[in-house]
Structure formats: C-alpha cells, structure tokens
Symmetry: C3
Subunit: 225 residues, 3 copies
C-alpha cells in the first residue's frame, strides 16, 4: 500500500514536471524576448519613430539576430513564424508603449532591463550555438552563430536607427561574454556529450560574465592613439 | 448561322482577352516598378551618388522588398532573375536620368509619382501576401510579407543612403495601408476562396487607403512627450 | 637513356606543378583576402570601434560580398565555413592591429594596399561570375553577382560604419571594372567554352582596368547641377 502511494506520488510528480518546467521555460523565454524587444522600443522612441518604425525596430531587436542566423544556416521556419503569437505580443507592447510611455521613464527602464537582457544574451547565444552544431557547423562557426543570435538583433536595430551599432563601439564586454559562453557550450558538449547540460553551462557562463562585467564595470582595451 | 457568328465572335473575344489583359498587366507592372525605381533614383541624386550608387539604390528601391521577402520565404528565382530585361531597363533609366535630369525637376517628379507609387504599394503588397500564403505562411506572417514587399525596398534605399528610413519616421500612413490591404486579401480569400479576387481586393484597399491618406493628409499618432 | 632522364625530369616537373600552383594560388588568395580585410580594419580603426566591432567590420569587408552572393544564389557552405582557418587569421590580424597599429600608419597602409585590393577585386569578381554561371544564372545576373562579390564587402563595411558606401559616391571606377571584367568572363566563355581561361581573362581585365583607373586617376561622370 505504502509503495503504491509512493508510486502514485512519483507518477504525479513526473507528469506535472513537464508542466512545471514548461512554465519556467516560458517565463524565461518571455523575459529574454521582452528585454530584447524593449531595447528596440527605447531606441525607436529616442528617434521619435512612428508606429511602423517602432514595431520594426522592436521586432529587429527581438528576433533579428535569430533570423539572421537562420538565413545564414539556411534553416526554416523562423522562430516568429513558428510562434506567431509573439508578433501579436510585440504589436501590443508597441501600442501600449506609444500610448503610455514617457521619456523620463527611459533611463530607469533601461537600467531595470539590464538583468533580463543579460539572461536573454545567454539564452539566445545557447540556442544559436545549439542550432548551428545540429546543422553540422564547425565549432568556431557555431560559436559565432551564438554570438550573432545574441548580438545582431541589437546591431540591426542600430543600423536601421542610423547609428554605429553600440555592440561595436561601447567597449563593454557583451558579444565577448556570448563568445566565451559559446566555447563553454562546445567544450562541455565535447567532454560530456550532453547537449542539454551544455546549454545550461552556456547560459550560466554568458550570464555570469555579463553580470560580472556590469557589476565591476569592465571595459575592453581600446586602440592606442 | 447566327449562332455560329456569335460563337465565333465569342471565341475571338476570349482568345484576344489574354492579350488585352496581358498588355494591361504589363502596363500596371511597369508603372509600379518605375514609380518605385524613380524614388530610388531621386534619393540617389539628392546624395550625389555616382553611376554605381545610382543604379544600386534604384535597384534596391524597385526590387529590394521582393528580394528580401523571397530570401525570408526561401523562394527562388527572384523577380529580377526571371525578368532580366528589367535590369536593362533600370540601367537605361539611370543613364538617361544622370544625363538629362536637373535638380529643379525633383519635386514635381516626386509629386507626379505619388499615384503610381500608391499603385505600386498595392500591387507589391498583394503579390507578397499571395506568395507567402502559397508557401504556407500563417495569415499574420503573410500580411507582414506583403508589407515587406511593398515597403522594404524604400527601407533598404534609405539605409544605404545613410538615412533613417522615411517609412519609419514620417508619420504618414504607408506601410499601414499595405497592412490593412493584406488583411483584406486574407479575409476575402477565407470567405470566397478565390485568390484572384482577393488580389484585386488587396490592391484596391491598399491603393484606396493610400490615396485617401494623401488626399486628406492623414498623420499617424506620435509619441507623447 | 637520355630519353629516360627527360621522362623522369618531365614527370618530376609535372608532379611538383600542382604543389607550385597550389602555393601560388594560396598566395594570391591570401593577398586578396588580406587586402579586403585590411580595408575593413582601417575603417574600424578610423571609427575607434572596440574589438568586437573591429573583427565584425574586418570580416564583412573580407567575406561580406561572397556571403551576400551565396545568400542570393542559395548556395552553401560559405567560404568562411569551408575555410574556418581564415576566421582565426582575421581574429589574429585584428588583435595584432589593435595592439601595434598607429594612426600615422593608416595612409601609407592604404596606399600600399591599392594593388592587392585591385587584385582582390579581380579574383572575387571572377569567382562570383563563375559560381553564378554554374548555378544557371543568366549572363547579366552572373556579371552582377561578380560585382556583388567584389564590391559589397566594402558596402556592408561602410553601412555598419554608418557611412554612405564609398563605392557608391567616390566617382572612381571600381565596381565598373568588375562589371567589364565580368562581361569579359562571359564573352570568353561563350566563344571558347573554357571556364578556366575565362577566369584568367576576367581577373586580368578587372585588375588591368582598375590599375589603369588608379594610374590615370580616372573619374566617373557626375550629375549635372
């Protein structure tokens, strides 16, 4: 009888696990996408773009990196074609922001988004490396695809806003964190053979490095004059 | 005997119809492509680009949107690979313009091109929605592909000319017209099942809205300060 | 006996030929890629980009044109995926340059790179035309793909650096040389049927024209005011 209860409990736990992790996954994914989207929204607001511009720049910031990666790897469907609901969410976000956001909210918003943004960088990089390795890319190319996934949404956002991409000129470690995290993925995967663990390692290393860089205010070395 | 004459007349009409509509189709297509190309030509002239820049920007304005759509949908061949003669036409247009166009002709040219441009927006959007639906895209993605086809030629033109795309910042309804027209396509297609009719509806709605917007001088709502 | 020596000599020569030409090919390829990469490096230095920006712009200048061509032609793998060692070389180049290059070295470097750059233009254009013809592109499209391969690395470099691409506004024959060279490829190939010879003709014509343009300081005709 006791064994039966344990068994039932175990069964119950196991069958609710996927739901739990699903919810957690969804929450993490949402935090990451929204952080990236918000960076686009703020950039568009700073340039006083109209509704079309705001949506486009927000979309590029959120999904531009992954879309570029899939174009380069010749993979379809894109994330936003498979998860169309995200397009509706972004549209709603843009509408709401244009109606309610005030300029004086920009800076606090940006500071508040730093941590979900760092999480997004880790998740996007890990997803990029994983997808590239699965399509048979060499290690270095896979790592660079991780960087592209995490960073080039912001690059496209800045190019459309007619700025030199901040990822290329602010001398803060951002892409570098994803680069190191990508090698952590590849290394862990080579040693243990577990892609699932490698994914977690990549997210942790990338997020950890980025958090350290923000906290200690690290800078990249600049050109000698 | 009378029946035979009627039959012959009918037959004659039917067999000449394709020719008629072909000519009309060609005329409309030419007006649309040339209107888009001219917008690129004028932008290139304003920046005093050289012959290479003029051709590239003209090409991007005319075919950049459709090319980007086909890249995203993974469709080949591109319109300008299937209809190479258009490349020759654009080259001839650029040559002629560089030899004969004067700056004081710019503004009247631009105003005169507004109507063929609105027609082009409708046609390009309809073609984009149709192609995306045929490749199995979800409705919203198909509508956005219509917008990309109609609008992103101008976006690429402005990015290369080092400007924030005017479609993103002039607060005039342009992409929005194509967006509404795209939904008209999808709606009509869902209700009647006729892709041919849906195409006409899309062109009419997009063109009509754009014409209204030009005529009534509509503006999109801006950011609150 | 004498015949045997001659035969052996001939044999020896023949079997060492591939090695010789391989070495020569490698040297020419390296000169071309490095010249293009250096143009990116200098542009990045002028904008004081950080390490990430320097590598990206250098990469785009070297491989952006060929990558865009392969995206348009739907060809994989990219050159830099097949020859990953080039990515390491570019990374090493960027590191070294950021540590050792001084601004006063920029102008002499640029002048010294003009000749390998002209060679690169010829080689990239020839490779582009050849690849496009092999995938069944019409002649004009193939020639334009040659131009894209040779010129659009620089275009992407300038777009990311937030400049109007110099290839579009400096009124110097650059893309035009590749355009003429591309037609030389197509013409020679049509007449003789030899793709190998056509390749050499294309490189020679493109390089020759570019060298002439540099030497005689040719300019493209500008817009009439």
């Amino acid at each position: 009888m006791g064994a039966k209860v344990t068994e039932r409990l175990y069964h119950c736990l196991m069958s609710s696990m996927p739901l739990w992790t699903n919810h957690l996954n969804l929450l993490i994914e949402a935090a990451a996408v929204l952080a990236f989207a918000l960076s686009g929204l703020l950039a568009a607001a700073r340039k006083s773009l109209d509704a079309v511009g705001v949506f486009t720049v927000t979309f590029l910031a959120a999904f531009g990196g992954g879309t570029l990666r899939d174009l380069l790897l010749d993979q379809r469907p894109f994330f936003w074609v498979e998860h169309v609901h995200w397009l509706w969410v972004l549209m709603g976000l843009c509408m709401t922001a244009m109606l309610f956001m005030r300029h004086r909210h920009f800076e606090p918003t940006e500071r508040a988004m730093q941590w979900p943004d760092a999480l997004g960088l880790g998740l996007f990089a890990a997803a990029g490396v994983s997808k590239a390795l699965h399509t048979g890319s060499p290690a270095l190319v896979a790592v660079l695809m991780g960087v592209v996934t995490g960073v080039f949404g912001g690059v496209l956002r800045d190019v459309v806003c007619n700025e030199i991409p901040s990822a290329f000129r602010d001398h803060k470690p951002y892409a570098i964190c994803a680069f190191v995290g990508g090698w952590a993925y590849v290394g862990w995967w080579w040693i243990t053979g577990s892609a699932g663990q490698a994914l977690m390692v990549c997210v942790t290393v990338t997020f950890g490095l980025r958090a350290l860089a923000l906290w200690r205010n690290w800078s990249l070395p600049a050109w000698k004059a």
